[in-house]
Amino acid sequence: MRLDLLAALNAERAARRACVVVTELESGAQRLVARDQVDADPLAGAIREALAARRSRLVGEGTGRAFIAVEVPPPRMLVIGAVHISQALAPMARLAGFDLTIIDPRTAFATPERFGDVPVIAEWPDVALPAYGLDPFTALVALTHDPKVDEPALVAALKAGCFYVGALGSRRTHARRVERLQAAGLSPDLIGRIHAPIGVDIGAASPAEIAVAVLAEVIRALRSGAAHAEGVAA
């Protein structure tokens, strides 16, 4: 791979745009195809399919064989609430490859003592989210349990097409949340995308166990093709 192509590829990733690298295996010729260049590419159809499925693949036969490497942005996780579960979730999610940020306007919670080098933004979601820039390659995990803090973030995440949107709270808490979101004009389809109660059902009890359950659910959403197809198309 030429260094300039590699640098352009890393720039696309840093800008959080999906793209592909096509390698013609016989000649070794390579090209970067950004999303706005797909239609003009000779392999447009195959590239579109690969991007939609988020799967790298070989195409063609014999000397015409080419490899389409799908490059999607690294996944991020935005956690609303600098709570006990977040303290356990932060190191686990980082190990699993997520670029993790926490937002909590309550300054008593959002301290470096409790989170070390994890970026913690002590602002209301409405203030912090525009600069953060939610996108389809981001998971939103709402853990404050406080509608004033969680719900603006949930609404923003649903509208941005985040691949995962989850909210802490019992079924009863969630039922009330659904009513408020409906009253705010969100469609049932959009509201239905919220994972609640949050996390895969492993009987998690402690904050660390709940963090495992949440991380598992986020990974399942990330790795199921449908979520990403949606993300790439958005």
Binding site: L6, N10, R13, L25, R57, L58, P73, P74, R94
Partner: protein, 107 residues
Amino acid sequence: MDVTESDVLAAAERWRREGRGVALATVLETWGSAPRPVGSRLVIDADGNFLGSVSGGCVEGAVVDEAADVIASGVPRTLEFGVADEVAWKVGLSCGGKIAVFVERVD
């Protein structure tokens, strides 16, 4: 250690800019059960340092060896590993799967 695919590509660029000889290995194809999906990457330098993975640790050693030749020659090659290759490569995938790995130099 926290190593993602983006770390691998970032390292490939950084290492090359530092003047190191660098090769990039990419999983092209898998058959049967394979530990890493198509598109998984490993970056290798001329001293045999590497980051990332193309299998669960089963064939990385052999890929690193081949990468040294690719860094020297600049000619990309495709390697295949699997149970049937055990004699040729002395390494294989204990899971019974088979993988093809493309190794290229970063120029």
